[in-house]
Amino acid sequence: MVEDSYDLTKRKDERSGEYVPEDIPAERAADEVLKKVPGAESRKRKDGRVELNVPSTSIGSVMSEFKRMGYDHFVALTCIDLIKEDMFEMVYHLWSYGARTHVYVKTNIPREDPSIESVVEVFRTAVTYEREIKEMFGVDFPGNQRLTQFILEDWEGPPPMRKDFDSIRYVQDKFDIKVRNPKGLPPKWTKEGGK
């Protein structure tokens, strides 16, 4: 059980109302999370940081645990397509301004019909990362209201950052490069249509 002094509501300095960063080292924070989340494993890395492997179903509670302990800078969310293992690996990067430590929280989700709980409720920053991953990898994030089109406009193909997406094949199929007459474009934009 984490002591009450780690409570987020107490982290605002009463007099000035300013933000005071909490100072809990990554190892201790990881231990606290390990106690609460069944199935989680921690690993000491050779770069000196802490890595935590958690079941994908508990990602929301893991994130709020870390946030409560001062890991309130959501650095990034990375999706890695592990095509050989038939998995997507999601890596949540967290940083504590007080303890000045970085934590990797890793979780795997199946590649078929991928979906993982959104952490937007805990970390508002995640909203854009999840939006991008939805578009580039096709991973769904139930709970994120903002999974709208991000970068790819009028995109019909499969999610392009997946390992089995062949960029060259896609371009050759979609666009007829030799006659400079892309099939997908309206006639007025093509060479013939512009005449």
Binding site: E18, K46, R49, I151, P160
Partner: protein
């Protein structure tokens, strides 16, 4: 009551002189007040992250600086740091000092460009002329050292490409003297102007708690009073040996953000002078495999660098072999360029939209990648 007003939708950018880079904003206006804002990135999307998976480790060094045009060297640095960490390479001291000089020169040039952009957004067109003119002297230094004005491709995994020429530090000092002498002039031109006070004071104000919750980093976060700087928190290059001050302001508004940038230019000048002074002699590159046979053992590392816009991170995953398995770029604008802007623009006048984007120093290329 508000529903009686007509809602006008305006596409602000990418073809607007006030917008920063190739970046669009879809604004819904009631009168001249922004009611809703939606960011439209993607005009610069060149699929770098996908491309990097199909290029060798060393080819990628030439790709990464393109991700941030005004401040390209942080990309090379973060990428190199990630690769070095996975490979276990020890970078020689001299290379670290040269890297520090390069990174700080790049920071000055990016800040000068950013300050000019803010001056342009309030109609003070003298400032962009001055700052961009002085920035050119820094580009001249880069050209002499690296051969490139904008993209330098000078920082490599293991060190730097080559040693600095003998007379180069003297020229650096000369340029720094010039810029230092110009800084008070910028101050009296820009910060002592009544227009600046009227336009920037209290503009898009947020506090440190809100900023941390929304992933704001770098000068924008320091302008809210929080003393955070990756150069101090997780020192890289030669920053551990160098004495510098982390610039903070309390106000958290547009003026504070701009002032932090102005003071940071002065601080960068101090850092470069120290690095030039204390430059150790020795090797400039660790022993690395030849570029065509450059292999990285399996592993992953997140390397972070303090850029002129905020936290720049590279998460590099290697499964062994000649190509990276995955490279994820965490650009600072990815957080404060999309979600933060969408939340702070509503309620502001349309004339302030370009100014707020400028004071936050949004750099669209690192959103798109």
């Amino acid at each position: 009551m508000m529903d009686d007003f007509k809602v006008t939708e305006i596409i602000f950018g990418p073809q607007h002189p006030g917008i920063h880079g190739n970046f669009g904003t879809r604004l819904e206006l009631r009168g001249d007040l922004v009611y809703r804002a939606r960011m439209v990135p993607g005009y610069l999307h060149r699929a770098f992250e996908k491309l990097m998976e199909q290029r060798t480790w060393m080819q990628n060094v030439a790709i990464v600086p393109r991700i941030c045009v005004p401040d390209p060297d942080v990309n090379e640095m973060a990428y190199s740091m990630a690769v070095e960490n996975i490979m276990g390479l020890e970078v020689p001291d001299r290379a670290n000092y040269i890297r520090t000089i390069i990174l700080e020169l790049s920071r000055i040039s990016a800040h000068l460009m950013g300050l000019g952009g803010i001056g342009g957004a309030i109609g003070l067109y003298t400032l962009p002329m001055w700052t961009n003119g002085d920035r050119d002297y820094i580009l001249d230094l880069f050209e002499e050292l690296t051969g490139g004005r904008v993209y330098h491709i000078f920082i490599w995994p293991g060190g730097v490409r080559w040693d600095i020429p003998d007379n180069w530090p003297r020229k650096v000092n000369k340029v720094l003297d010039h810029i230092e002498a110009r800084l008070p002039e910028y101050y009296s031109l820009f910060f002592e102007s009544k227009v600046t006070d009227a336009r920037l004071k209290g503009l898009a104000r947020f506090d440190s708690r809100w900023a941390v919750d929304h992933g704001v980093t770098g000068p924008n976060l320091r302008a809210t009073g929080l003393e955070v700087d990756i150069r101090r928190m997780e020192p890289y290059a030669a920053y551990e040996d160098i004495d510098f001050k982390v610039i903070t302001r309390k106000e958290g508004d547009g003026l504070a953000r701009t002032l932090v940038r102005w003071y940071e230019v002065r601080e960068s000048i101090r850092i470069i002078r120290q690095a030039v002074e204390d430059m150790p002699s020795g090797e400039i590159r660790a022993k690395t495999p030849p570029p065509l046979a450059f292999m990285v053992p399996p592993g992953d590392h997140f390397a972070r660098v303090e850029s002129s816009k905020g936290e720049y991170g590279y998460y590099v995953v290697s499964k062994g072999g000649k190509f990276p398995y995955r490279v994820h770029v965490r650009g600072p604008s990815f957080t404060h360029g999309i979600d933060v802007l969408e939340q702070i623009l509503p309620g502001n006048e349309i004339s302030d939209v370009a100014l707020i984007t400028g004071t936050l120093d949004v750099c669209p290329p690192d959103i798109d990648r």
